[in-house]
Symmetry: C2
Subunit: 255 residues, 2 copies
DNA sequence: CGTAGCCTTGAGATGCATCAAGCATTGTGG
DNA sequence: CCACAATGCTTGATGCATCTCAAGGCTACG
């Protein structure tokens, strides 16, 4: 797995890839992804981290619940959702992933993937074989620590989603969602004010614990109040200050 | 930190501890905790993992949001909650921890703790200095992998809480909560049928995204229906099968 | 043994879900 | 390239689950 080949193991019939060398060292996302915080002079040590890259078309799966866990996947381009389904058929979207973020950590514990990972637009991922990753992390402490940071950050993110789902009203949830997306786009160097939603109202609702009608109504309400402009998936944030105040609505009441 | 001393660094005024040797190898929780899955013959390699132990009285904190992150804490005895507080004062309990479980992972990312960890009864934790842990994990792959498994399991657990908070009704949440506690007690070798709740209705509600009155009413309803017996914190599960069916309520509708 | 925190239950309010209908957008095959 | 089907979005009307407010009883801890 750690020797890049001209043949993609995971999709032999479809894609052919060139050997990857210096995948991370030459990647424009290097500061935002796994190599983040690792000195540029040491990036050569990550040379065998990425075995290959794979294109994922809109609607296709990177992996499904129950698939054997072999690798993590770093989003190189595009947009993904991860989804868990209960035994009785209820769906919950557990996250949306943008370039630089990792997919698949939930599979380490059971050696099977625990979520479906689905592309919301034509995308590309870097495949990081997990046994290689553990080996390189043992030999190279900064990578070890960075891996732990990434998992820890995911745990913190989920704590915040739990806070949102457990305590916030619909308006607060939608405002928090928009501001979070905005911040992540800013971080990637895109506009934090104007962007296109990659997901449907139904998917936003699934993530936020709301029905699609409630998401739609909330967008309309924000529009009327002059907080955003929303026509379909095109979003423009007009008054981010007030959106932030919405999330802290409780503070007003207490003071 | 990795040389056990007769003086506890973290609470010098209060507690004095004996040097710890073979803390994990001789611990009755060894199969359920960090050493889980590591061959007994190799447990000596974990000898320096636990720098010391610390008693935490009911209501006391192991750490608070914003505290410097230095160590993980393994629950050796007792019962804990972890709690996140939003900027405007809303609380969300993010988990309850029983013996064998770890506290503190959320602090790795920012080097500050991201939750409050509070004892719900008089308890004891093992202190695992984090730099030691990373070093030993590099030298001893089974520990490295076990650490990753534990973090991954926490991520999966939180996915399931998100599903609960995002899609389930009050009755379903409470049933899921009781069955989850039951299962964890069973795993520890305690009765899975009869147990004492360590937390208040308000804390259960905070974890489940419900108000305490709703939790109370749901307990009463289950009692009337003969699913449980509940008098205050003493709980007895009478019909676990039906509690399980409650969680899968959707399936009935679909079939 | 007293008191503060915890729990239960009721009545009424409300925020979101549900059901329904029509419109908009997107993608596809003729 | 257009037409139309499928999917996604908006908006309205209604219902219901849960919250809120309130009061009284219970428990347990100091």
């Amino acid at each position: 797995m750690n020797n890049p080949s001209t043949q993609c193991n995971e999709c032999p019939q479809i894609h052919v890839h060139k050997p990857l060398t210096d995948a991370c060292a030459t990647c424009s996302l290097r500061t935002l992804c796994v190599p983040g915080g690792i000195p540029a002079t040491d990036l050569a040590k990550l040379d065998n981290l990425v075995s290959m890259r794979k294109r994922i078309k809109r609607g296709e799966y990177v992996f499904r619940v129950g698939d054997d866990f072999n690798s993590l996947y770093a989003v190189r381009a595009g947009f993904f959702k991860t989804r868990i389904t209960s035994t009785d058929g209820r769906d919950q979207i557990t996250g949306f992933q943008v370039p630089g973020e990792l997919l698949g950590f939930e599979g380490v514990a059971t050696e099977q993937h625990g979520v479906d990972a689905i592309a919301l637009e034509d995308s590309e991922v870097c495949i990081l074989p997990y046994t290689d990753l553990e080996r390189i992390a043992r030999e190279f402490p900064p990578l070890q620590h960075q891996l732990h940071r990434i998992m820890s950050r995911e745990i913190m993110r989920e704590h915040n989603v739990m806070l949102l789902l457990g305590t916030m009203k619909a308006e607060e949830r939608v405002a928090a969602f928009l501001l979070n997306l905005s911040e992540r786009y800013r971080h990637l160097g895109y506009s934090s004010v104007e962007f296109v939603l990659r997901m449907t109202r139904q998917e936003i609702g699934s993530y936020l614990g709301l029905k699609l009608e409630t998401v739609s109504r909330t967008f309309s309400k924000f529009h009327e109040q002059g907080l955003i402009e929303a026509q379909g998936k095109q979003i423009k944030l007009i008054d981010m200050g007030q959106l932030r105040q919405l999330i802290n609505a409780n503070k007003q009441v207490l003071s």
